[in-house]
Amino acid sequence: MTLSHYLALSGALFTIGLFGVLTRRNIIGILMSIELMLNAANINFVAFNRFLYPGQHLGHLTVIFIITLAAAEVVVGLALVMTIYKNLKSAYVEDYNILKG
């Protein structure tokens, strides 16, 4: 296994997540696609650490921090989604236009 295999897998995962962010109508689907993109970045960090800098651990530390920040992001995002859903009774992003004034 070379580094290119892992980079190609991560690129495929990131592209699928990007397509999901651009095309899903459901706000929860968009949040899930963002999780896919974060995981693709994590694969890249660990793979670069393993193949280019064996014996160092900055890539692993960065991935731990990204996982923690993703958990915080998803908690706040889902709390926001629940609040918006309670007010608007819709989970589709094209209905979220109350900031237009």
């Binding site: 295999h5 699928i16 696609s33 393993r50």
Partner: protein, 163 residues
């Protein structure tokens, strides 16, 4: 040989379940597929020899985030979701953007082609613990402040308004 088999099996699981997350009509099925995809990414971490990240991925992503998203799917759905379209009308420009991204990404990563691992993977937990409490103690403490702030924010949004 066994390394190749494991990698391609995990890659197939990850890509197929990620396509399921993006393309399935039922959001419940998407959330279950997301759990499978995150578990596959954890397997990739294990095959790369990073044991602590593997454990953190299972604990936080598969055990926490996927379950949390499942709860919200159960709370914020309606019966009409199963018959309405889940993809907006901009899928063709999105495909063009994705193709442009993957083309430029492959151009960039071609620089790293043909690099094989020089040594066998070694346990990382002790070194990560030393770094977290040594050189990277300040980011480690800052991340706990971020977690506290997000917990407070989520509780603030989710509480019932008192009249």
């Amino acid at each position: 040989m066994i390394e190749q088999i494991v990698f391609y099996l995990l890659a197939a699981v990850i890509v197929l379940s990620a396509l399921g997350v993006v393309l399935l009509r039922n959001v419940m099925h998407s959330a279950l597929s997301l759990g499978l995809c995150l578990a596959g990414v954890a397997g990739i971490f294990a095959s790369l020899g990073s044991d602590f990240v593997f454990a953190a991925q299972i604990l936080v992503y598969v055990g926490g985030i996927a379950v949390l998203i499942l709860f919200v799917v159960l709370l914020a759905g309606s019966a009409s979701d199963l018959i309405t379209r889940q993809i907006n009308s901009q899928w063709l420009p999105s495909l063009v953007i994705c193709a442009a991204f993957i083309w430029s990404y492959l151009r960039i990563t071609a620089y790293f082609s043909g690099i094989a691992a020089k040594s066998a993977p070694a346990p990382t937990v002790r070194a990560i613990a030393g770094a977290m409490l040594g050189d990277y103690a300040v980011p480690f403490e800052l991340i706990s402040v971020v977690l506290l702030a997000s917990m407070t924010g989520a509780a603030l949004f989710a509480r019932r308004k008192e009249e």
